[in-house]
Symmetry: C2
């Protein structure tokens, strides 16, 4: 049955605080460059007090992907939990303003809306410390039958941490499966993979058609090197799309590896959201029936836009950008 | 006596919400492109509900200037009123994080921290609707004797609207005058000038050494054309610096007009904060005893940086940028 949406995503509803930092700051704060770490509210306030002047922008990995899907002209729906505070209102405004459907009930009690403190170093790398707050309070009751009304269900690996959210994933996957939808999962982070490898593999085997991962994540998942990990992914899901930063991506499907080049970028300003936008482009390609090579290229085009400026979501209409490149 | 600070500024403490818009949106909302309009909280919520996905960033005209002063390596102090809410905390964090001193007591009751809804059109022009909120509750008691501890006192013309804030200006000017400091005023907006022309002229005659204005503002002040307005300014203040967008600026002092070219910009993305940064560069030049031509050039360099990206404050360290250009 034709779906109302191209992509429905479930993920952490988060507002990003982006600030510039140097390597010495990361060292002083004992942060590993490029990593994502979960922190509590006290540590968030403490770290924030020492961070540089920032910019607040709606973020969240799958929510960024949904912004990309909408920017590419796709019909998108997002499920995630905010609180009824200022940042929650900002998140809600922004995701609706980009044209996505978002009607998850906000949390009226504490904790506050989640936020991700992102220190961006001059090399464009982002180091993230996330206070999940309300985001982690997503429960199966937030997943309604409407979740099946999208060609692709996209799940953010970060939500494998909280048990209730993982249960929400299971409910969403079962609902989508019953409607013969494509189920996609992003591994999100190598540490998520380390924490939940067995559960992730079981979920992938049972439910996942399309797996998104970067090099570190796919290697962590299969506890091996890149080539072997890609080979392992080939036997596990219908399609795997593995991103490799400036080296582009590898799409694995039907027993073959398709190499996709990265789109050239004049200057990498901030890599926040690169993987999220790659997934957006890829899924829009898939939902519109394009060959996998083109899906990967659309992913590369979307990723190139978001890393060329500060901030986690596209600032140029990706649909126009893609059209200018022949799509 | 040598001062602890280069610049102490009094202005509206505001958080900006920046979003892209097209001309049709401005028309539908009955907004004049490039203008600043005061709105109440209900209208702010209403307009926000129809604006595109945004980015939140600390703003406020004089506060942006202080950010520029600090970015240029200057010692800066800011006086302005926020509330004890999320946006107030963001504003406070950001201005302290850039290295400025800020200790104005926040408002513990309503109204909320002020915010400026900025719709940026593809031509880089910004159209602003400001809910002043707590900013307008600045009173003379917020101005302490420490205000005189800066070489230059910088006053934001927008604060001529509320009576209490205007009284705070008078107190600050008297305090600075007694310490033989330079007193600078930015006219802020042609509509501010229209509303308060007589009071502004009286204040300029009594207290102002250094006047910042753009073309529209100086013409509104003297109710005449550009050449005549510049001539009028010449007889009124020691120094007037009048900005003309891409046509650069004219610095009027000692009976002469000094023309300063605009700094070339590859692409104008968002003109928000151009005048604020010009003032920052100019005052840092003045505080370090440079010739007026160089003061203007430093203003142009700072303005060029801020209009080349989205957002009201510098994203590159202006001190390094100026050094690369021979300063």
């Amino acid at each position: 049955m034709a779906a109302l949406y191209d992509v429905a995503a479930i993920g952490n509803a988060i507002v990003d605080v982006l600030a510039s930092a140097d390597d010495a700051f990361l060292k002083a704060e004992q942060l590993d460059k490029g990593s994502m770490r979960l922190i509590d509210e006290a540590r968030a306030n403490d770290l924030y007090s020492r961070m540089a002047s920032g910019v607040e922008a709606s973020g969240g990995s799958a929510a960024n992907t949904i912004a990309g899907v909408a920017s590419l002209g796709g019909r998108a729906r997002f499920v995630g939990k905010v609180a009824t505070d200022t940042l929650g209102k900002v998140f809600t405004h922004d995701i609706r303003a980009i044209g996505a459907h978002f009607d998850t009930q906000p949390l009226t009690a504490s904790p506050a809306t989640g936020r991700c403190l992102i220190n961006v170093t001059p090399d464009g790398e982002r180091t993230m410390c996330t206070f999940l707050g309300a985001a982690v309070r997503l429960t199966p009751s937030d997943v309604t039958p409407a979740i099946a009304d999208a060609e692709i269900l996209y799940l953010e690996g970060y939500l494998f941490d909280p048990e209730e959210a993982r249960a929400a994933f299971a409910k969403a996957a079962a609902t989508a499966r019953a409607a013969s939808r494509t189920i996609a999962l992003s591994l999100s982070d190598a540490f998520v993979v380390e924490r939940h490898r067995a559960a992730l593999l079981a979920f992938i085997d049972a439910e996942v058609d399309l797996l998104f991962a970067n090099e570190a994540e796919v290697c962590a998942l299969f506890q091996t090197d890149f080539e072997a990990a890609v080979a392992a992914a080939r036997g596990r899901v219908k399609i795997a799309a593995v991103t490799r930063g400036p080296r582009g991506s590898v799409v694995v499907a039907n027993g073959a590896n398709i190499k996709v080049a990265a789109e050239p970028v004049v200057r990498v300003v901030d890599t926040t959201g690169a993987g999220d936008q790659y997934a957006a482009g890829f899924m829009i390609g898939l939902a519109s029936g394009r060959p996998l090579q083109d899906c990967g290229r659309l992913g590369s085009i979307a990723a190139a836009e978001v890393i060329s400026h500060f901030g986690p979501r596209p600032q140029t209409r990706l649909k126009d950008l893609a059209a200018a490149k022949g799509f």
